[in-house]
């Protein structure tokens, strides 16, 4: 008995039905980790914000109409806060090294992106990776579309300057 990613739910409902949690979790997990990594620039931090976003869903006391939108918004906000705090607590002492290719640190565009302020970076990731409109990005960030436009403009100007 699963819930679709868009079915209203609550913490109680999720906890009562572990299979429901599994459905939502499994459906969203990979996408959240990828988004978290792009937003934070870090594989480890990306995993953390994805995990924390799901914890927030579990602890929600009010019904959530769209868990997928809730989770995405949580990942974005957690990533921005992590960047602001320069949260440097990272997983360490991992036995398993990453089996995939290392982050493309040779890619100057990636380097320039991760050096942007968190909100500017978030706007670019949401716009060019998630393909969200200015209004949708504004909804995720909790700001006005004009702010999104301004953040995007400044971010692109900065990248052009860095990459010229």
């Amino acid at each position: 008995v699963g819930v679709s990613a868009n079915q209203p739910t609550s913490a109680e409902a999720l906890v009562d039905g572990a299979s429901d949690v599994d459905v939502v979790y499994r459906a969203q997990w990979a996408g959240l980790v990828r988004l978290g990594r792009l937003l934070t620039g870090s594989q480890q931090l990306g995993e953390e914000v994805a995990q924390d976003a799901f914890l927030g869903l579990l602890r929600a006391t009010r019904p959530i109409e769209s868990p997928s939108a809730y989770l995405r918004r949580s990942v974005v906000n957690l990533a921005i806060n992590a960047g602001k705090r320069r949260s440097r607590e990272v997983a360490y002492l991992r036995r398993q090294r990453e089996e995939v290719a290392a982050p493309p640190e040779f890619d100057e565009t990636w380097q320039a992106l991760v050096a942007l302020p968190p909100r500017q970076r978030a706007v670019l990731v949401l716009r060019y990776y998630e393909d969200l409109s200015e209004q949708e990005i504004a909804n995720v960030l909790g700001c006005r579309p004009g702010t999104v436009k301004s953040l995007a403009s400044r971010a692109l100007d900065h990248l052009r300057e860095e990459l010229s």
Binding site: V21, V33, R94
Partner: protein, 228 residues
Amino acid sequence: MTDVLEDRLRQMLQSVAATTAIPDVPAVSDAAGVPGRRRRWRRAGIAAIAVAGLSAAGLSAAAAGGAFSHDAAVAYADWENIDPATATKIADIPVPGHQRLEVFIAPESGSSFSCIADLLVKKHSPVDNPDGGVCDNFKTSGSARNGMSGSPPPPPGKTQAPFWYFTLPAGPATASAVSYYGGKVHSLAVKDGWATGWVPTRYASDVTITGYDSQGHVTYQLTGPIGS
């Protein structure tokens, strides 16, 4: 308007997303039972790599005295649900650059968690307030692999910090050491069940941290990278 930069951005983001490692989905029971924030579901493992010999050299811990309320207040400045007055200093060690690393722990109100925060101090003034850290129920779920690490900002013109530092629950260990490339072994500061130390960044990718009880028996041993 789409320009070359926007195309490059799209391509690069897709490329990075494609190379992102997707770990196994954490167990739901783990998530449901977590009452506080920044609980970590680490897949950290413990590799049984023996450390032959231990010479306490290099790092020497300065005596970690009582908490300085001012420094604790700075360390927890941006934290919610933390009263700096309840913080305890669990480490105060010298680190490169004529600096000291102070590490605090404080209970998080409304939860059973405690939160670690650190502070780099130079000439009695904070020079780096990471205001990052980690909260966990260290007393019950904490283990030596469940700690935190950090680094100072890179010097001007550099891309890497000169060193990484770390703090981890030491359990019953009364002494602890970190070893890394070239056979270098340095003792860590151990106080009140916590071990704290640092390693040069160039060696941080592969270190072994070992704890010893008062009889000299190994209580934990961890191997892997420190930092991101």
